[in-house]
Each structure stands twice: as C-alpha cells, then as structure tokens.
C-alpha cells in the first residue's frame, strides 16, 4: 500500500495518468468501414439510418476498423430490448472472428447535411458517459452522385459538453466560456488506411480506363437540382432562425419592462421608507420577493439557435463548393465550344 506521507497514493497517481489523454487529432478509417457505411446509407436512402462503429483508440488516433448497421426501428416500444439484443449478438459474433470488439462511436446518414439536431447531441452525451472517446461519422449519400465522398467525423467540443451537462445556456455563461456556434461541433480529419492485401487486390483489379465513374460524376454539368434543394433547406432554416430571434427579442423586451417596473416600485418603497422614518416607524425592506414583478424571467436556451446556425453555415458551405465546381465546369465548356 502506498505510504500516505508521500503525498499522492498509488491510486491517485494512476487516475491522474488517465486524465492526461492526448487530444483526438485524426480518425483513421479502414476502406472496409468506408465501403460498408456507403453501402448501407445508399441502400436505404432517402431514409436515415444509423449503425455502430468498432475499432481501437490509440493515442491521438481513433481507428475505425469495422462497423455494422442497426436495423431500422419501428415506433414500437417493445423493440427497444430487441435493439439491445441485436447489438450484443452482433458484437459477440464479431468477437469470435477476431474483429475489434470496441465501440468507438456510431455513424448516421443525412440528407444534404441537415444533421445538427438536439437528438444528435443527446446521443453524444449518452455515448460519452460510457466511452471516453467517441466520434460520430456522418455520410451524405445525396452528394455522392456529384463525385464527392461526403464523409465527416464529428465530435462535441469539451467546453460545450461541460456547459450542456450543467444545462445552462444563457448569454453570460456563453460569453464567459467564449463559446460561439462555431465551437459546438469539432470536425476531425479522416484518414483512410487499407491493409496490404486489399491494396494488392485493388491494384490488380483496377480497370484499365484512365477515367473512372467518379470523374464522370464530377464533370456532370447539371448541378441545378442539388442547388435548388440546398436553397430550399436554407430558406427553411432561415425561417427557424428568425423564429428563434423573435423569441430572444421578446425576452429582452420583457426583461427591460420588468426592470423598469422594478425601478418604479423601488422608488415608491424608498419614498415610503422616508415617510416612515419621518414618522419613526421601522423601514420596510427594499425587496419583496412575493411581488410578481421580481420574479426572474427564464432566459430562453440558446442551444437551438446554435444548432440552426450550424446547419445554415453547412448549407452555405455546400452551396459555395458546388458553385465553385460549377464555375470550373462552365469555363471548360466555354473553352471547348470556342474550339
């Protein structure tokens, strides 16, 4: 047993070593996991599906070596236990064939990038309680016919998680922690790795044509439907944002009105007190908690507006990317036509 006189016991030393984990810098995915995710999301698009990621947590790299899909859940409550059973069964079976049995997160598909919802954050918090480092991979199958592999690895930032646990989202706390909507989600770069065997196979099997399907998709000239859908979603989100802003305006107006009322009441009390002092009576307290105008108004949570802002910025980024591609393609067409 450790000697108490040495200041730190053995147990303390062990726990403190655990806390100094290197921050997550990169998510390394195997080609197998990438293909499986793509296959699953594509098959069920436009429905949104989820699945579990399995892998290893090594230093500052989170390796994702395999994954398995979740069955689509019906609205039935009885199937809750079924879902847990399915997960346990899959993990057990995969363990028998030496697949890494370690959950490192989950993946989900999305439609044009509208994935920042409160449920995502809740799922994150649930996972975070059990696993020290987990990540969420988002795949967008609707962008794959533009030739882009729309895979993103997300994580909640630590400061946001602390704030969420304390369930306190008013302006002061946020200013204190300097948490703006940009800091809610952290995007982690993804590296793809393949075993030597599969890379040998792929090299052999690569078709001889110098141009692949991927290029063909990228050079398509019609980007209008994609832009249209993006803009539609953008407009909806802007409506939501205005609704949130109205809520804040309402709150501020109420607050200032309440403060004005409080001042008026305070003045009256002070006058009363002066009169009482003149008459030799006890002065009344300057506060009156039972008076409704002193009731603190609850400040609306800013979580929703942060999420909406994130979504909007995501749409804007996508529009920018697609427009950039569009420009190059158009100039190419022009050059071709002139010849």
């Amino acid at each position: 047993m450790a000697n108490p006189a040495t200041g730190r016991s053995f147990l303390q030393a062990m726990t403190s070593v655990e806390e100094v984990a290197p921050p997550l810098r990169v998510v390394q995915m195997e080609g197998l996991a990438v293909l499986k995710i793509i296959k699953h999301c594509k098959e069920f698009s436009p429905a949104l599906v989820t699945g579990q990621l399995l892998g290893l947590d090594v230093g500052s790299v989170l390796e994702v070596t395999n994954c398995f899909p979740f069955p689509t859940r019906e609205e039935d409550e009885e199937l809750e236990a079924d879902g847990a059973n399915y997960q346990l069964e899959m993990m057990r079976c995969l363990r028998e064939v030496n697949v890494d049995n370690n959950t490192v997160g989950w993946y989900q598909s999305t439609l044009l990038g509208s994935f920042q919802t409160a449920e995502l954050i809740e799922t994150f918090m649930n996972y975070q309680e059990n696993i020290r480092r987990c990540v969420c991979i988002i795949y967008d199958p609707s962008r794959s016919n533009q030739g882009v592999v729309a895979l993103k690895a997300l994580r909640l930032s630590d400061s946001f998680m602390d704030l969420y646990r304390s369930n306190n989202f008013n302006g002061e706390k946020l200013r204190e922690k300097k948490l703006s909507w940009v800091n809610v989600f952290e995007e982690i770069p993804i590296k793809v790795s393949n075993s030597a065997l599969i890379s040998a196979f792929m090299t052999e099997l690569e078709p001889d044509s110098p141009v692949t399907q991927c290029d063909f998709d990228r050079l398509k000239l019609s980007s209008a439907p994609f832009m249209e859908r993006n803009l539609e979603f953008l407009i909806e989100c802007m409506d939501d944002l205005t609704a949130e802003q109205n809520k804040f305006q309402y709150y501020y107006r109420n607050l200032s009105r309440q403060q004005a009322q409080q001042q008026v009441w305070l003045q009256k009390r002070r006058q009363e007190n002066m009169q009482r002092k003149a008459a030799g009576e006890e002065p009344l307290p300057e506060e009156d908690p039972s008076n409704p105008i002193f009731k603190p108004i609850v400040e609306p949570s800013r979580l929703d507006s942060y999420l909406i802002t994130n979504q909007i910025s995501n749409y804007c980024n996508q529009v920018n990317g697609a427009a950039g591609q569009g420009f190059s393609k158009l100039y190419l067409m022009k050059a071709l036509h002139e010849n």
Binding site: V34, V149, Q213, C214, R218, L231
Partner: protein, 290 residues
Amino acid sequence: MATAAATSSKQTVLQYPGAAPSVSARIHPVVLFNICDAFVRRPDQAGRVIGTLLGSTSSDGTVEIKNSYVVPHNESADQVALDIDYHHNMFVSHQKVNPKEVIVGWFSTGFGVSGGSSLIHEFYSREVQNPIHLTVDSGFTNGEASIKAYVSASLTLGDRQLAAHFQEIPLDMRLIEAERVGFDLLKNTSVDKIPNDLEGMESSMERLYTLINDVYKYVDDVVEGRVQGDNNIGRFIAEALASLPKLSPTAFDKVFNDKIQDNLSLVYLSSLTRTQLSIAEKLNTAAQIL
C-alpha cells in the same frame, strides 16, 4: 458445432447432369474487402477463411453478391467442421437490417477447390438452391489475383452420387462503387485526407486533360501515317465530337452567362447569409446594458 464426416472423392467416368450452367455472378467490392479483412484477422492455426455470401438473384439467373460474413470453422486433414449456429445467428441478424438479402453461396480463401470444399458446398446447398462458391486467392499463387466463382453439379453413376463437379461461371467484378469512392482512397495503404470538392475537381480535370492529349496525339499519328488508323476508334472519336450540342455562338453565350450569373448570385447569397449569422450571434450574446 455440427460436423460433417469427410469422404475422399476420386472421379472416373461419369454422367454430366446437363448443359453448362447459365448462371453468372456479380460481386460488389464490399464483399472483397470483407473477405480480405477476415483473412488478415484469421486465427493463427487456420489456413483459410470460410464464410457465407449474401445477396439476391435476379430473374435472368444473375446472382448479385452484396454482402458477406465469416463463419468460424475447423479444418484438419480429414475433417471439416463448420459452426452452424454462428452461421444461423449472423444470418438472422443480417436479415433484421436488410430482409432482402438472402444466402446465395459461400466463399473461401485459397486457390482452387479442395476436398473439404465439396462437403461445405453440400451443406450450403441445403440452405439455398444452387449455391455459388467463391474462391479468393489471397496467397497470390501464380502471381496474380484470382477471384473465381463456381457452381457445382453433382456427378452420379446410376443412383450413387460420386463427386461434385465445380464449374466455373463468369464473374463480373462490378467495381462501380469502388470507382465512385475513388481508387486512390481504396488502393493505397494510407491516404491522408479525403479530397474535398475542389481538389477532386482538379484531379478529374487533369485526368480529362491527359485523356484529350492522348486522343490528340493518336489522331496526329494516324494523320501523319506513323500509326495505322483503326476505323473503330475513328468512329468513336467522330461520335464523341459530334455529340457536342450545336449551339450558335449567341445562344451559347446567353446560356453560359446565365449560368455564371446564377452561380455568382448563389455565392453572394451564401456570403450574405454568413454575415447575417455573425450579426445574429453578436446580438444574441451581447452583454445587456441596463
């Protein structure tokens, strides 16, 4: 675990059941990746990996292999044992996700078909009508990657079944999915980042440029007489050039300018939105001066 006793099969003169099979198979790259990954992770004493193939059969006899999973097995000189419970459990689990995928056959790594394979094949033919046997040669014997698919026809002499004859069927390696993801990502042992929109665009354009250059050089060579012209290629090139839509310069300019203006206005709109967002944020978290 259920076990199947081994029989040695040496065949002589036999009756073939009928004409060559009209089945062909198509395989998705996920399956290949799965098999290779399973092979890399196999337990030390196993020489090869065996598992089930899932997929669907279309009406014209083409079997599409879409998914697979490994089944633990034990193999020694004269005995083969397959974990049937595991196989069944995994199948049920997979069915929960995708009920349309059914068992279409089984795979094994290693070159060629061995004695034990026929027993396993028999087991699988109890599950599905005409199972496909896929061999993935992970040892690269013959110095090349050989992925072959077989169906088996049983050879009978009178009433007794003597042997199983594995006939190779055409296998279509549909790598469209892999192409979509991009061979760069799937071929190298490690790729540092997934290319985003503009980088991908750049590489596609470069490839197109080299392609056009090659075609140009070829045409040049043919015209100068350095290379014998091939009529087919010539026709292809003419077709490609003719498929450019014929627009008068004014019409083309109009279309072009319209599109450019659309794109510009979209970029402007998105920057405007972002400015709006930062203003909104400042307002929302501004300190209150009361």
